[in-house]
Symmetry: C2
Subunit: 405 residues, 2 copies
Amino acid sequence: MLSVDEARERILSPLRPLPPEMVSLSEAWGRVAAAPLAARLANPPADVSAMDGYAVRAADTIPGDRLRLVGEAPAGHPFEGAMAAGETVRIFTGSVMPRGADCVLIQENATREDDAVLVGQPVAAGKHIRREGQDFAVGDEIVQAGRRLGARDVGVAAAGNHAWVAVHRRPRIALLATGDELALPGEPVPSGGITNSNTPMLAALIRASGAEPVMLPLVRDDLEAIAAAADGLRGVDMLVTLGGASVGDYDLVQAGLAKRGLEIDFWKIAMRPGKPLMHGRIGRGPEAVPMLGLPGNPVSALVCGLLFLLPAIARLSGEQLAEPERERAVLGAPLGENDHRADHLRASLARDAHGGFVVTPFPRQDSGMLRRLAASEALILRPPHAPAAQAGEPVDIIRLDRLGL
Amino acid sequence: MLSVDEARERILSPLRPLPPEMVSLSEAWGRVAAAPLAARLANPPADVSAMDGYAVRAADTIPGDRLRLVGEAPAGHPFEGAMAAGETVRIFTGSVMPRGADCVLIQENATREDDAVLVGQPVAAGKHIRREGQDFAVGDEIVQAGRRLGARDVGVAAAGNHAWVAVHRRPRIALLATGDELALPGEPVPSGGITNSNTPMLAALIRASGAEPVMLPLVRDDLEAIAAAADGLRGVDMLVTLGGASVGDYDLVQAGLAKRGLEIDFWKIAMRPGKPLMHGRIGRGPEAVPMLGLPGNPVSALVCGLLFLLPAIARLSGEQLAEPERERAVLGAPLGENDHRADHLRASLARDAHGGFVVTPFPRQDSGMLRRLAASEALILRPPHAPAAQAGEPVDIIRLDRLGL
């Protein structure tokens, strides 16, 4: 059986970022930049005032002296002429500095008297001026390729005078749930049946990671029906199957997809919950579709989705992220020794007196407990063969309440 | 001047969660539940096997004994009859337990011989069975009102057999930027002009918080034009103005909107960056539109958006969240004493040897540095009159890299 890290590496290594498309700035939030963005406009675009007041020459700011007010330059309306010695121009935050001025006398230190301004305090040359390009100059790289664009990046792109951004296309991830026991939520559930919670749950996980889910219709436990589902993968960047990933008599996914050229890379991982995780690809060459087979158990499917599908989507999206962020917490309860499988314990989070995290595993870790998983604020990561740990010892966690999961 | 907390309280107190609407489960991710969801189907819906193996009676599991194989019950196809003593039924993970059986002999401990099964190990009654309703029973509350639905909640709702969810309507937030100096990004920027980065940036912040931005056209520094913009607020849940919030000669927002009934609650906060923050409402009674006036400086606008607009959107969305989550970090560099204004220092984050955060403020905190803000991983929260602090001392931070900002 593979380790979690080996499995992730084998899933990620064949994946490449999707090609770019252009989106307008109002649609760019949450997308991943496909190319660096260079500023077309400096910020600020000219020397501007950082305060409301009067543009002056430092040499003229002798307290008690009167300066002749020769004009005003509100933001957007620069003073056209040049200021001579003994002159001043009324300006505001963001106003372009008039030619001839070298600093700003803030209004709190000035007294207006008709067409004159009484200097209250001396001002040093350069004071209260934001220099052209102080934040960035024309041509500076203002957004890096591979960055998922937050609101601030959108603001920086706008300040650099971009209305369009090249981003990686959103990965389209097809979800295929198989099983005679499955009914669509809200529809009548026959005796012995359950609703298909995996497809809507994983579709939400895919949305949370910025990709686009394609929810394929439910497929019965039938080889030909499973094979036929693989014919609907045109334009899909990855196929995720749900259920049927082990080798029980009725676990037919592998055999069904083999009829359409599935080549299996591996299908067992030393982890809990989750062991039967399938990886492979359907078809060959540039048209091949990577395939990830998640367990049918919803708790296992979600944990495997977090550990393997999210990084795969990040890679396809052009992001650098390789795995969900780990944080540190101290245990709120003791843990026994772990066996050979990496464990992912559902747990609650609290804060200690110093603001640090205290993580407490739920006493029962049954992988049938979906509601318990939904109530978990974190997963505790227990490496294979981890020794027993006392309350108060540090452990690695992944916060679930922060990922849209 | 108000404190940050007082200002937030006064902004939030008049706001109420928006009315509900129904969305299908595939659109429910990221929305806020408007009512609790009660399970319509238990999970599991019946006693089911937790393993692949054979349904047996515990009393029959004497090693070496042969049990008569009377049928099989794959998931979705329950065994119709009742199992008698000495009989067994082939079952799989998720199969409904046949009547008469009380535990599961896992396949690793059984040997199949034609129509008989050889018992390898004794099994205790109840072993490897997931009981009906073990995760939740019919009628149990499986999603709480006020919860922002993550992927796991969508999964739980599906398992409880819901195809529709009542959620609070998305807040619609109108953005109104004013200023003669503003040009739309990508359009020609006249001399003395800048691009309007605030509207796209705040629109992205609004999207990041699950609300819907309405980007109003740019408005010049003209009282009538500003007043006319207030006529376009039908169906809008909050108006956010950008710029023109102080009382300089050209800061006309307050006077312009007063022509349409703006009543001001306050307009100064003891904080940095940000001081001129306006709050009020336009109109009276149930049709009144809450109004938040953010500073025109983009760094100030973003920080005030984080501290005041995000909580306002959370309140309108029906969420419990009152303010962005604070975390603890230790300082990577010393800080001087703070003055009477709450400060929000742009900073980088690193991890120490124990996995804790080290936060280091950028040496220059000029509020004109938008690119610097975009590169910041955290804001350090410095209360008014905070004493000087040495490297290694703990401080509160807000992580910016986690909020879609």
